[in-house]
Symmetry: C2
Subunit: 433 residues, 2 copies
């Protein structure tokens, strides 16, 4: 009698989970891939959805569509609530239990507000598509509100034209640059406000923007941001965030729109495994101690390579390579082929963009900036996108934006009937009296 | 001393309002264009956003972007609450008052549930972008839910794979055909359900689908729908809609997803003018009786052409021509040029599509169907789209879908964290017990 196929459950269909599933395409296994969303999301370009440069469909693809031809995988849209490691079962929100012989946790990261969770309401972050178009709406509505207020009192409008980005890692830098460019592109669209007078303030607690990059590139990024009109304030901690106001270790700032790019924490995977702390520490085979059938990869894992002092960063190439490693390993196991390799990350470098013709890239020591850096950044991102259609449409959208200097997706989608967003209505009503 | 410019207020930036504003580009007037949304929406293609074929950015364009070069117009994003005709002022939600010398109301239409307003919750309609992606989410989530239920009990899953569309005018026909095609395109994506077994039922109270078309075209549309697997039930009234169930004058239908395309009513403009009833009756100059400075155009107006028995239909070409007429008239007035023309609608015909290679068109007596009709339908819609970028991207999206048979925007965007949509969670929980 033929042995039943090994059951592999993968939680999370980001770069890690999807790569693992695809590497197992020809293995004699039965894979169940669980994700709370129906789509794989290309997070590095999320800030472009938030700043109206790309549309959600450009950077997301239905998981089922990617895996439709892979017969040994079923896709389940569900939310994992826990893991019964004794009985080897994954439990979900809808009351189901998925048995596994091997389990891969690739559940990603969430935002961290360093304990001040009430800031989350005033300073949204950027992890999902819903975050992104919510942020887009917030930014575009701020200009609309400023326009109405400025008809009577231009001074009062300024806080609606002030945007604060907290955290100058790649996400914060990219957001700040993109908001500054968005504001420039609106120059002719309003009659009572001057979009070029928009203030974009980037706050960073450390000494440099892009702290994980070489100092020379950090300095260049700062200059590029300033050339776009962004006010960069390093060595500045945020001490409080409330409606209309950000208090820092320097002066307080009156602003209606605050965007959080300052901290991430791991998903709840550690709790599912009964561990303390956020990230799940994994060994050279990407397994946590004491769990020989569980692999943890991507942003949720904490892996310190041999001889290194820091864990690998939570970036897409790391997650992808981890997923491929685990997929390869489990495939060999299922086929009865010996597999003794440990995981080794092939570091291709890092890059961040600031805006049109401005980017910094560190490719294993070779530092590239300016227009060439920007082209490289674009090419690398298009390369990592999943789906030929997405690549084509992103390239066309970028070409369009480059030629016209316009953003293609400046839409506020939430119905503004019966009062629009309540904070805007209240702000304008109190103003009108 | 120079005379102050005539103030023209336009409410609504659909085809009517936007055409009027653009026709006034060279007139010595000061225009204020008020809309509750920040974008102009191409409603005829909304059903394609709802069925994941196009993305919102393809069919909407920011009003400010369209009018950015027209110096005599300011765009205000606000919600009109009333009109003070004595003092000639338009009042808005944010407490502002916009004085006018001439006023154009182009506020469009809403859905009508024939008095059964509680059906609106169970059977959403399609008027705004938020409606469209809400519907898209509902449709896609229905398949995801069916997949989970079918793992244990395939029979129970069928109601999630049953879709009812109420109303067989062009919108209903287009929706029904598109859902049937969407279901076909999912054929390989699921493991426990068979998407080709999806039921799409189109209900129509009258004797024919597309009742305003010639009988020969109605019959052809019905055959085309049936070739896609749509069950067409004419002469069938809906008597009740509740969760999971539609009761008709024939049998009740178990289905989780009902879409409303059966009735429209005018916007609240009539109430603002102190009139009874829905539509605002207008004369040959598109003005209601007793208001020489107010024009009402588009879906909200009721205009019976000389010698006709029926009012003009609420379709895009009518709104556009009405807007152009009023713009032309007001422009002449402002310049002091005599203008005595009355409004005459140049009827180019009507068309509706059913799906790939299937459409019916009646171009002033010339009846076209099949592939040629479908190409004509596509060309006409691209022609009416506003914005070169939108035209380009829609053509590319259609080309892509035609070549691959896939829908490009199959995204469920609302975060499914912490439980997803509550009805789905409840449905699955009760099922799991």
């Amino acid at each position: 009698m033929a042995e039943p196929l090994r059951k592999i459950v993968i939680v999370g269909a980001g770069f890690g989970g999807l790569s693992a599933a695809q590497k197992l395409a020809n293995a004699p296994v039965q894979i169940t891939l669980i994700d709370r969303q129906n789509h794989h999301l290309f997070q590095p370009l999320l800030y472009q959805v938030a700043t109206a440069a790309l549309t959600p469909a450009d950077i997301a693809v239905p998981i089922r569509q990617v895996l439709r031809r892979q017969k040994n995988v079923e896709v389940v849209m569900d939310d994992v609530t826990g893991i019964d490691t004794a009985n080897q079962q994954v439990q979900t929100e809808t009351g189901q239990a998925f048995p596994y012989d091997a389990l891969i946790l690739a559940t990603g990261a969430r935002h961290s507000y360093f304990g001040k969770d009430d800031w989350a309401h005033h300073a949204p972050g950027l992890k999902t598509l819903e975050d992104a178009y919510g942020l887009r709406e917030k930014i575009l509505t701020a200009f609309e509100t400023a326009e109405i207020i400025a008809r009577d009192d231009p001074k009062k409008a300024q806080s609606y034209q002030t945007f604060v980005v907290v955290g100058a890692g790649p996400t914060g830098v990219e957001m700040a640059g993109a908001i500054a460019e968005l504001a420039q592109s609106l120059a002719r669209d309003f009659r009572h406000i001057e979009p070029r007078q928009t203030r974009v303030i980037l706050l960073e607690g450390g000494a440099h923007v892009l702290p994980s990059f070489a100092e020379r590139l950090s300095a260049r990024a700062k200059r590029d941001l300033e050339s776009l009109g962004v006010e960069v304030r390093t060595g500045t901690m945020v001490t409080d965030i409330s409606p209309g106001r950000v208090v820092t270790s320097r002066d307080p700032i009156a602003c209606e729109t605050v965007l959080w790019a300052a901290g991430v924490q791991a998903s709840r995977a550690a709790q599912w495994l009964g561990l303390d702390g956020g990230h799940v520490p994994v060994d050279a085979t990407l397994r946590p101690e004491g769990h020989k059938d569980i692999y943890v990869i991507g942003d949720t894992a904490r892996h310190v390579p041999d001889g290194a002092t820091h864990p690998l960063p939570g970036i897409a190439p790391v997650a992808k390579q981890m997923g491929q490693y685990v997929g390869h390993r489990l495939s060999a196991e299922a086929k009865g082929v010996p597999f003794s390799k440990t995981f080794r990350y092939r570091d291709a470098g890092m890059m961040a963009t600031i805006g049109r013709n401005r980017a910094v890239a560190d490719l294993m020591g070779l530092k590239v900036t300016g227009f060439v850096g920007w082209l490289l950044w674009g090419a690398a991102h298009v390369y990592f996108l999943i789906g030929f259609k997405n690549r084509l449409f992103v390239i066309l959208s970028w070409l369009w934006a480059y030629i016209t200097w316009q953003r293609g997706v400046r839409l506020i989608l939430r119905d503004q009937t019966g009062g629009g967003t309540s904070s805007r209505r209240d702000a304008l009503r109190s103003f009108g009296q």
